[in-house]
Each structure stands twice: as C-alpha cells, then as structure tokens.
Amino acid sequence: MTLLQLQSVDAAPWGDPVLTDISLGLAPGEVMGLIGTNGAGKSSLLRLLAGDFAATSGSVLFAGRALESWPRQQLAQQRAFLPQLSLLNFPYTVEEVVLLGRTPHSTGLRADQDIVRQVLRATDTLSLRNRLYTQLSGGERQRVQLARVLAQLWHPDDMRGTLLLLDEPTAALDLAHQQQLAATIAGIAARGCAVILVVHDVNLAASVSHRLLVLDRGQAVASGSPETVLTPALFRELFHAEVLVQPHPNGRQPLVIGL
C-alpha cells in the first residue's frame, strides 16, 4: 500500500507555476531523495506536502485520504517537516524546543521526556539538553530542530503511517553528524517511516535514498534507483557539470566524482 500518492499535481502559490504535472507514490519505510538545481522546485514540493500551500490541480493523497481533508492535529501526529531555516530567537532550552515537537500528542510530560531523550541521543544532542537554544552554533541548532521533528513522529518500534520531510538537513552538519543522520534515517525507515529529503550532496543522497527524484523547473525529469538515475548524461544536461560515475567501493551505490 502506498502512503503518499501524487497524481498530476500542479502548484502555483504565487501566480507562476512552481510545480508542473508531478506524479509519485511513496510506500511506508521508503526514503526518497530530491535532487535538482537551485530553484528546481525541491523545497516547493516539500512545502506542498507539508501543507504550506495547496495544489492548484491534481490530487495529493496521504494514507488514502486527500491531504487537505485531514484533521489538523491527526495530520501533525503523522507528518513532520524540517525547514531549511529556523527563526527561533527566544531562549528556550534545547529540551524545551524538542518537547514542542510533542505538541500534537497528549502523552504527558513523563512519556514525552522519554521520547525526547531517545531523539536527543539519535541526533547527538543529549549533552546539549539543558543549554539555551539561542546560544548554540548553526550545526547544533540544526540537530536540535531535527530532534524536534523526529520527536513529533517518534516511536521506538513502529512508525508506519508517518512521513518525515527534510529540507537540506545536512547543510550545517559536519561529516560525523551527516553520517549519524544517514543512520538515523535508515533506522526510522526500517520502522516504517517514509522520508522525503532534499540533499545537495548527490553521494549522500544516493547513500540514504531508495529512490531519487530529479526535478528541473518544477517538473520531474527522472526517477528511480540511484544507479539508474545518476548518469553522466544527467549531470551534463541538468547541472552543466562533467562527472565520472563509478561503482562505490562499498558496492551498494554509485559514486559520483566531479571532474
């Protein structure tokens, strides 16, 4: 069964079309990477799925039901979105920020704190829990915001029916934390959480995604497993870049090398 089904979706929230004729299906536990040039519509697609604006035509079904007909709170229990930028400028502690992710659930402080501890551990922010958010570095803030959206969907065993949308979650992360993020995504996907993420590092995208969707000027131009999508021809056409594509030494994915 598919968790998310888009059928010929167009969107033009500010007049000009930002997404044209997008169709895709996503199964529980599937990880989809969005790649494309700047302004290709990657963030717009995430924001459409996050409900920031509606499709002008076509249909978006989440768990078999039109996205806009979902009750607010129930949807918030099953879908979370990590935006590129955070505006938070009030002195919450890290734990308070992550606890806000539990707002749609009424599970009580004790249960919430238990979940918060797990997501803080998964994002390596447990040692920051009593620090003030406003005094953290950019990468630390990004990990805390990631912990917040994880807390919104978190379940230690079963996360089927949930959808996590991540817009450039690795932008401010160092190498170790990028790898930790990849492991976290694999972990929640194994428990049934579907993930759609925008990542500019194609090798990172290839390593975490089951499937890649390539966007160009609001349209889907390629879709499939990393091996089939990542070809020198794609990079030449789309990014005007010359690359070599080799099998990765780990044998599980292609390796793109810029020339």
């Binding site: 409900g51 918030a76 938070l88």
Partner: protein
C-alpha cells in the same frame, strides 16, 4: 547558562507564588498611601467590615476602586504585551504596535477638541473614553485589514502597517492639537499621560468584566504561542490553527488594551517591559509567562499609582511617569546581564 526543564518549571511556579503573595500586600499598602496615610492594620480592618470613620470613607469610596482598577489594567497591559511579543516573535514588541494606542489617542483627542469632555457619557464612561475605545479598535481593524490577504495575515506586514497607522494617527492628532485652544491642549496632554484618578465603581465594573474576560481568554493560547515562537509554518505543522489563533490574539489584545486606554489613558512601558523581565527570569514558556506577567504588571501599576499619589501629595503625578521611573532602571540592570539569560536581542 544550564537549565533543566523541571528546574525551570519549578522556578516559574515559585515566581508565580511569590507574585501572587506580593500582589495583595502591594494592594494593602497602596490602599493606605496617599494624601491621608492609613496604617495597614486599619486598612485591613476597614476591608473586613469594621467602621473607622474617615478611613472607611477614603478606603472604600476612593482608594479601593482605584487600586483594583490599577491592578486589573496593569495585569491586562502586561499579559497583552506578552501575547504580542509571542505573536510577533519579537521580545521588543508592545501592544501599541498594532495601532491600538495611537488610534485611541486620536479618538480621545477628536472628542476633546469637539467639546465632548463636557457632555455626559454612558455608564460612568465619559464620551472621551468611548471615543478612545472606538479609535483604538478601529485602528486595529484597519491594521489587520492592511496586513491580510487571501493567503492569511502576515505578521511582518502587520508590524509595518501598525507603524504606518500609528504615524498617521499621530500626525492627525498633532494637527488637532495645533489648531485647538490652550485649555483643550492641556486636557489632551494630561489624558495622554494617563492616570487612575477617574476610578469609580462603574468604571471598575466595566474594567473587571472586559479586562477579566481578556485575562481569562489569553492563557488558553499559551501552547499555540509556544509553538508560534518556532515560526508560523512550524506552528501549523504542529497542528496549530495559526490564522484563527492570530485573529483571536489580536482581537483580545485590541479589546483589552482599547479598554485600558479608554479608562486610564496611555500607560506606556508596562506592556513592553514587564513580560520581557518575566521572560528573563523564567523563560519563554507562555503557560507561566502569561499569568506571571499579569501578576507582575498588576503589582507594578498598583505600586506606581500609589507612588504617584505620595511623591508630590496632595498633587498627583501622571502614573505613566512613575511606571517608567520604576521600571527603566530595573530593566536596564537586567539588560546589562542579558547574555546570562540567553537573550540575543
């Protein structure tokens, strides 16, 4: 600074308790101070029903409505300020940002210039007060309309529209003051400084009903406000009905601040600084920030009003001067240690 969530919540509870104990004490002392001083024991006796002659008359007829009004208005202004700072995601926002104070001033000036101050009003309210309330609410409606489109209401646009409407109302007010006679100019200027000397029972009742409703309504929005600090989209993604919340917050603040400006004139500073100070002490969680700000605002205005009666007795100073004189040094001392509280702005 290292802060555990549980410790922070306990600290907030302690502050709430401390403020809740301080407020009645401040009111008791305020009832005894003024041109005629009454000992706290006598004040308490009068409040409990025994007859102490002149003291009974002064406490019951004059000071009690006034002190209670000060408490209610102070609480409303401070809680409204806390709500606006959360809504605008700016710790320096003030209830007057949405145009309510400037609109109310213009409404009051118009009626003073038109000679409305000599005419009878309604239910103990002068025509000038009614004009102020109408002006305040109209200004907010205008600001809200300017900032709304089919995509919802933009808080950033509202801020700018509020500044524009405030400037426009200010210019219109100056124009009125320029052409009016000296006596009315003095009336306008005194009205603007604010004061609680007009307190009487009907006004107190009106304030209790309207401001009481605001004080009961705003805390319901504590959790939505907590998520709004993350950003409007983030709040929406957490299941908060953001547009409805914004409309409700602006509506309640307009009514609360409009009423308080209509009854006691413009009292600056309480709505801006009290929530700011409370946030520095216990953090930005609105579940405790809103009630603690209300209590602290009440205490500040009760004390400021008492001082305004004592300092130059029997002459009374406008209370706005005193709120600034008490609050500003305290605020500056906190600002100097702001990094300790994690404030970046």
């Amino acid at each position: 600074m290292i802060t555990n969530v549980i410790d922070r919540r306990r600290r907030a509870q302690r502050l709430l308790l401390l403020l809740a104990v301080t407020l009645p004490l401040a009111m008791l002392l305020a009832l005894g101070s003024g041109a005629v001083r009454i000992a706290p024991a006598d004040t308490l006796a009068v409040l409990l029903g025994s007859d102490r002659g002149q003291a009974t008359l002064i406490v019951q007829q004059i000071r009690l409505p006034r002190v209670l009004l000060a408490g209610i208005i102070g609480a409303t202004l401070a809680m409204s300020g806390a709500a606006m700072q959360g809504l605008f995601r700016n710790p320096l926002a003030d209830p007057s940002l949405i145009g309510v104070t400037a609109g109310a001033s213009l409404g009051a000036s118009l009626l003073i210039v038109a000679g409305g101050s000599s005419l009878p009003g309604l239910v103990g309210l002068s025509l000038v007060s009614l004009g102020a309330f109408a002006g305040g609410v109209l200004a907010v409606l205008l600001v809200y309309r300017l900032a709304s489109s089919e995509n919802g209401t933009s808080v950033a646009t509202m801020l700018l529209a509020g500044i524009a409407i405030t400037a426009l109302a200010g210019a219109a007010g100056s124009l009125l003051e320029f052409f009016t006679d000296n006596e009315r100019l003095r009336q306008i200027s005194l009205w603007k400084m604010g004061g609680l000397d007009g307190a009487n029972l009907p006004r107190l009742l009106l304030a209790s009903v309207v401001a009481g409703a605001v004080l009961l309504a705003l805390p319901h929005y504590a959790l939505p406000l907590n998520t709004l600090l993350l950003g409007e989209s983030e709040a929406r993604h957490l299941g908060i009905p953001v547009n409805r919340t914004k409309l409700a917050l602006i509506g309640w603040v307009a009514v609360g601040v409009g009423t308080s400006v209509a009854l006691v004139g413009t009292i600056a500073f309480v709505g801006l600084v009290v929530p700011h100070i409370v946030r520095m002490l216990i953090g930005p969680d609105h579940r405790t920030l809103l009630p603690a700000s209300a209590l602290a605002g009440a205490i500040l205005l009760v004390c400021a009003d008492a001082l305004s009666r004592i300092v130059l007795a029997p002459t009374e100073l406008p209370v706005g001067i005193i709120t600034a004189l008490i609050g500003v040094p305290f605020f500056i001392s906190l600002l100097r240690q702001r990094h300790q509280y994690g404030m970046q702005t």
